[in-house]
């Protein structure tokens, strides 16, 4: 019985936790933390159960909400693609929840339980978006995750408010475009269910309909704004880099990856390969955009002096990789894009966690904070190296394999611009991380000590001797090490992941 209800429970469980956190706030931070962990662990458990069932039966689970049959009611669809994204999202959320013990309490001296309630709501929204089989339901959950992310980001300090406001305006434009796109599709088809829509759109009389094309363009444009594809990316680094440490770890890896997943859903579930690559011949333009995103993202990251800004621009570049992979229109590119959702979710999380730990210990967000961390925080430094290796694409980390598939797909499609962009972006990433690690390895810890002592640091850590070994607390180290190990394990089991999960989700027509 539990297994039958698992698709609903994945989403409902964190929702209940969020409500309970709001009501039971007076019970103290320990209880709130425990409840949050419990909620995220529950989601992960149910996601794994659902994915296990999908793999065992080799067919998608269709869960009817309220027992109504699909085109009339709303259904949740868990197939190989949404299953692995659900596991990714809930696992990352659980790791971040564990990590948040110290940082969230420090960023939120008051109202920690409300912060955690928003945390759980954000995860609810992301999981719900991933599992939804109804385009309008997806919009509602998109807004839930967007609203809770505005709330979480606005918990940052001073400049965060303006950055959040910009994000709110841009995010609303994105969501409204998506909604308007649904409107066009609904007018032309009369349906909201993804599979039903797909069936109606594939009818010959709608193949040349301008309105359907406008609807598709609006939905895709809305999702591109949400996932910060170049040139619509300007809001992302500003908003994410001013957030608190926990918020950045939660939002930066997950929001954009789920948006990419939605793009894949719209492209290949609602519409079809034939429709997108034949009726709408944009793919050349999109591949150029994706190449530009990868290059400009990485080069902008290289130019940053602020650690979190640098990571945010890496996120922008990675979005370019995934978009390019999805639009090169072949199985290898698709595999690369989906695999990169998993890989990038983990490696972005890994880097944000490691950098967050450094910021937590030093109180500085500039590159200077990295000086001598190999002596001060050896484990964090190793985690950072693994994350960096994955971003650059050094085997056996998973970043290598996703890039391998992406390049293979681009080469098959003859998209040499994208191949070049991927290779150059990797080189730029290598230069950037070697620069960073040079500071980390050879940097003078004394200089940092002076800087911290002169009052740039915030809070109580400023006065401590920073040269001495001063590793991050255990609550941060454990999730960091698990994530870093995950990068390597995912890399080693690439063949299995591609064979058992991604291979089954490759859309018909490739």
């Amino acid at each position: 019985m539990m297994i039958d209800q698992a698709p609903a429970l994945i989403i409902i469980f964190p929702l209940f936790i969020s409500l309970v956190l709001t009501l039971a706030g007076s019970l103290g931070p320990r209880v709130a933390y425990g409840l949050l962990l419990c909620g995220m662990a529950g989601s992960l458990l149910f996601s794994l159960l659902a994915l296990g069932q999908v793999v065992a039966d080799n067919q998608a689970i269709h869960y009817r909400m309220g027992d109504w049959p699909p085109p009339m009611g709303i259904e949740l669809v868990i197939d190989h693609l949404s299953g692995i994204v659900l596991v990714l999202v809930s696992a990352c959320a659980l790791l971040t929840a564990v990590y948040s013990l110290r940082t969230a309490a420090e960023d939120n001296p008051d109202r920690l339980h409300h912060y955690y309630a928003l945390f759980a709501l954000l995860v609810t929204g992301l999981l719900g978006m991933t599992a939804s089989g109804d385009v309008f339901n997806l919009y509602v959950l998109l807004e839930i995750s967007a609203l809770s992310s505005y709330g979480l980001l606005a918990r940052g300090r001073g400049p965060a408010y303006y950055a959040t406001f910009k994000y709110l305006i841009v995010g609303t434009i994105g969501a409204c475009f998506y909604l308007l796109g649904i409107g066009y599709l609904y007018i032309m088809t009369g349906s909201l269910n993804m599979l039903d829509l797909a069936e109606i759109i594939s009818r010959p009389e709608l193949q040349e309909s301008v309105s359907i094309k406008i609807g598709f363009s609006l939905m895709i444009l809305g999702v591109w704004i949400k996932m910060a594809l170049f040139p619509l990316h300007a809001w992302l680094p500003n908003a994410y880099s001013k957030a608190g440490i926990t918020t950045a770890c939660l939002i930066a890896p997950l929001m954009t990856k789920v948006s990419v997943y939605i793009m894949l859903r719209i492209m290949f579930t609602v519409f079809s390969v034939d429709y997108i690559f034949d009726s709408i011949a944009w793919s050349q333009v999109v591949i150029y955009l994706a190449s530009a995103a990868a290059l400009i993202g990485m080069i902008s990251a290289l130019a940053q002096r602020d650690l979190r800004m640098m990571l945010c621009y890496i996120v922008v570049a990675e979005i370019g990789y995934m978009t390019g992979g999805a639009w090169v229109a072949n199985a290898a590119g698709y595999t690369g894009a989906v695999y990169h959702i998993l890989a990038d979710g983990l490696m972005t999380l890994c880097l944000f966690m490691a950098v967050g730990a450094v910021i937590y210990r030093t109180g500085l967000t500039s590159m200077a904070a990295m000086q001598g961390i190999f002596q001060r925080m050896p484990i964090t430094a190793v985690v950072l190296v693994i994350g960096a290796a994955s971003i650059i694409g050094i085997p056996p980390t998973c970043g290598f394999f996703s890039k391998f598939y992406l390049i293979q797909g681009a080469a098959q499609a003859g998209a040499w611009v994208f191949v070049a962009a991927l290779l150059i972006a990797s080189l730029v990433a290598a230069v950037m991380f070697f620069k960073l690690l040079e500071i980390a390895f050879f940097g003078d810890p004394q200089a940092l000590e002076q800087e911290a002592a002169s009052g740039h640091g915030h809070g109580e850590h400023g006065g401590q001797p920073v040269v001495a070994r001063h590793e991050a607390p255990l609550s941060m180290l454990i999730p960091m090490v698990i994530t870093a190990a995950g990068l390597i394990v995912l890399g080693l089991y690439t063949k299995e992941v591609v064979e058992f999960f991604i291979g089954w989700s490759i859309p018909a027509g490739f």
Binding site: F136, Y139, V140, E143, L147, Y150, G151, A154, G158, P159, Y161, Y162, T164, F165, L168, I169, T172, I173, C176, L179, L180, G183, Y186, I187, L192
Partner: protein, 129 residues
């Protein structure tokens, strides 16, 4: 001539909502005052709501509440009632819009407190210092 006339009159709901939509979008992008941006956002959202709700209209149909005949039997003629689905969607979208508006106003209040202004260029000026 007749066809053009029909084209303009027959689809006036789309014209009206699209014009409103772009007015709102322009306000959101081009206005300097952050409050005006929020007003633009509300116009933008309302335009989409109008777009949706106009889909529900059906000639010769009444509100989608089942009526009963003289013998207390429900009249279940689908062509007699307007399409209920857009109304439902709009109810949801209105609530989402209100929630976004509330959050936007709260963030705006904080901007006003931190920077002392709600003009975009002055906020940027203040941030640079």
């Amino acid at each position: 001539m007749d066809e053009i006339f029909h084209f303009i009159i027959g689809k006036y709901n789309y014209w009206a909502s699209l014009v409103l939509l772009f007015i709102g979008l322009y306000g959101m992008i081009a206005k300097n005052n952050l409050m005006k941006k929020i007003i633009g956002m509300v116009i933008f959202q309302t335009a989409i709501l109008l777009f949706f709700v106009s889909i529900g209209a059906k000639r010769g149909a009444t509100v989608p509440i089942i009526e009963f005949g003289p013998d207390k039997q429900p009249l279940l003629e689908a062509s007699a009632y307007a399409n209920p689905l857009p109304h439902v969607l709009i109810l949801t979208a209105i609530v989402v819009g209100v929630a976004t508006l509330g959050v936007a106003l709260a963030v705006l209040q904080k901007i006003q407190r931190v920077h002392g202004t709600i003009e975009e260029d002055e906020v940027l000026e203040d941030q640079r210092q």
